[in-house]
């Protein structure tokens, strides 16, 4: 068998295993409502014109179609939206051009909320949140930069200030009050 044929046939075999029909058991009828709950607009008004995909900078780079995501949301096909939740750059171009006045970027943000609550938590979220509860800022201080600051006579970064400990305590309290630490699994980092 020639190489091309091999790829072709093995590709087909792989595809054969997948179930090609979407039946009702895969649909989540309340998905659209859940999106509204987390601050997205009603995806049901989408006309599927594809303008959002066309203006989306991410859609040009990877196999990601803003319009398809909205369609999956309309249908309640939750699992199809899983992989692509974290690639939206929230540039809001889709929103600006949408003739149905939906805000696809906010829908994407609502999808992230849902994902987080299902335990799909990307590591960078934990990292940034950990920085926040430790330093009061989501970026960790860098010794090299601190040296430059000294040279420029800019004073310490806030998190090095003794009095800033109070701010960090306040932030810890706020983060705990909403259960955010438990939500994303950084309880161990939060001081009580």
């Amino acid at each position: 068998m020639r190489e091309a044929e091999k790829t072709f046939i093995s590709g087909l075999r792989e595809k054969l295993v997948e179930d090609k029909i979407i039946d009702e058991s895969q649909l989540d009828p309340d998905f659209a409502k859940e999106i509204v709950k987390y601050g997205g607009k009603d995806v049901m008004t989408c006309l599927q014109c594809g303008n959002c995909t066309g203006v989306c900078p991410i859609s040009l780079k990877i196999d990601y179609k803003t319009r398809s995501i909205i369609k999956f949301c309309q249908f309640g096909l939750k699992k199809f939206t899983l992989e692509t939740r974290w690639v939206c750059a929230t540039c809001y171009r889709c929103y600006e051009h949408c003739p149905a006045d939906i805000n696809p970027a906010e829908v994407m943000i609502a999808l992230r909320h849902i994902a987080i609550r299902e335990g799909v938590i990307p590591p960078f979220i934990k990292m940034a949140a950990t920085n926040l509860v430790k330093y009061g800022q989501s970026v960790k201080p860098d010794p090299e930069i601190e040296r430059v600051r000294k040279e420029l006579e800019l004073g310490d970064v806030p998190s090095r200030d003794q009095e800033y400990a109070k701010v960090v305590r306040e932030i810890n309290l706020l983060v705990r009050s909403t259960g955010y630490d438990r939500l994303i699994g950084i309880e161990s980092e939060v001081k009580s």
Partner: protein, 721 residues
Amino acid sequence: MDLATFAGSLGLDAITPALAGSDNVNSSELLGGNEVKRTPTEANGNSSGPRIGVFICHCGSNIAGTVDTSKVREAAEKLPGVVAAKENKYTCSDLGQDEIIAAIKENKVERVVVAACSPRMHEPTFRSCIQEAGLNPYLLQMVNLREQCSWVHSREKDKATEKAIDLVRMGVAKAAKLVPLEAREVPVEQSSLVIGGGVAGIQAALDLAQMGFKVYLVESEPSIGGRMAQLDKTFPTGDCAICILAPKMVELARHPNITLLSYSEVEEVTGFIGSYEVKVRRKARYVVEKKCVGCGVCADSCPVKVDNEFDMGFGKRKAIYVPFPQAVPLKYTIDKDNCIHFKTGKCKACVKACANEAIDHEMEDEIVELKVGTIICATGFDTYVPMKRGVYKYWEYQNVITGLELERLLNASGPTGGHLIRPSDEKTPKRVAFIQCVGSRNKKIGVNYCSRVCCMYSMKNAQIIKEHEPDTEIAVYYNDIRAFGKGFEELYHRVREEYGIEFIRGRPAKLSEDPETNSITIRAEETLLNKITERQFDLIVLATGLQPSEGGKRIGKILSLSLSPDGFFMEAHPKLRPVDTAIDGIYLAGCAQGPKDIPDSVAQAKAAAASAASIMAGKNVKIEPLTALIDESLCVGCGLCEEMCPYGAPEVFESDKGTKAKIVEALCHGCGTCAAACPQKAITANQFTDEQIASEIVSALGGIGVTAEKAKKAAKKAEEA
């Protein structure tokens, strides 16, 4: 003022003792105390007020499916004055009406309450029904148990029944206070004004003239013909637009019953159905119409060349011009803004050229006064103008044009003689793209409606381009194709099968121009392919949507027409009175009412003509007596009513008793605004008198669980309002 005094002041003494007596008044006390358990016949004997009949309609299951109508009937039987209470499956049917007539005769019913649907639908039915039985038609009270009760409370049946009982009780209370009214008749002028000389206006004028009525057609442009005259061909049949329109234009100009006032504006409309008085400004043409023979020698001699608006700026015309060769009337017009004579006083080349001495630079605007019985408003549409810094780059790239511009470029009598070129280099484009829904179906710009013609005109134009240049590649970027009319789907098939036009489902996201070739690349998601594509075209045509015309907006204000949310004029009823307006004697035709194609515009024009004729054929027209009345002894002539009235009905005048106001009945719609506003309480709205409304309020407040305290408060509020 407490409720007792309030009610007393309105002559409701009968119920005041009950109100004043205790703080916890229940409904039975309000409605006549211990006499609650009376049967209708007993009530009949005891009551001193008029004898009332209540007829409750099931409306199939529309009402009875939600409201327990037998309970409503039982409650109605117990109401004071009610001598008959009946249920019917359909009260509006012959059977139902017969029952009303029988009750009037047998039970000597004097006031009729029909608890059914909105008065908008069947009030006339029941009015003529009771009139047949010998009652004054205005002794009818409709109670809306359908739109305002069963349909909106279909999930709460018990509460709906309770509300229905309340509504019927209020209706009965008001019915007891109804007084007979007489409709007045006014004569109808046997002439009509048609505003707008597009295809709709032309058709309406011709139809009315044919029926023998005098017609004045006012058109603001130098020629009639409107938008249709600008088009190349018409969809779906491909008839040449001007070829089928021109005969009508000529016929109109020749018709003895039609006076054509072109290059004129309606300035003022006063009066009412049957006798509207209209002031029309005939703008100065600077050419005497009677002398001009349309030879065009003047234009040949004119040294000024400017863009021709009729050709959407592609062609040129002179400062003295006719917009297009088939113009009607074929009379030249001087464009004052561009004429050298008006600028410097030097050139009079046209005057020298004209053998008939038709040109008169001293001409002034003229005001013509007309008297007409009816008005048809056919002010048409404007096309959407693309945004300045929008995605489609209409203002930045020369090779992006609109659909109407393309029509001119394809038109045999257009600036290119029908040869399609692209503006940047005047070469024939090899690849053409149409972008649909520009200025339609876009919530972002506040245009939510579909313009109804863009899909089809793009297909039609694509076909014409293919016929001219068979090797042109054409793609149509669409969101949804709407091919709903007769022969439309067939055209859709034809352009795909015979002409190979490609349809791409997706809204273009980005247009970018190649600076060397001026060709434009469209980036869009082809949604059915699920891929983002970039394709290059030589010419882009934006299928711009339809919008209410600017001139139309002005006319709308003059005629006080109401607008639908989309900005087009609103019809009196979307289904049953599609050409009428809320104002009697004024009708709508064509795109003034909403986007539509030529057959629909013509059909609506014919309907509007027929509606206008049906009024004028009667010689006289009845005017509803539901109007406001001014008690002159109370009126101080402050003029507030004149200010408040949306229809201009009140008129302040000087009488021997001082300044007073009067109501022009034919203009009055009985809305009651003036009655509510009048500080002297000198104005009464017929069938909505203070007494009648107060009796309804008081009976509404008599519902179970309402304390006198609450009732007092509510009454006070009602009074303040």
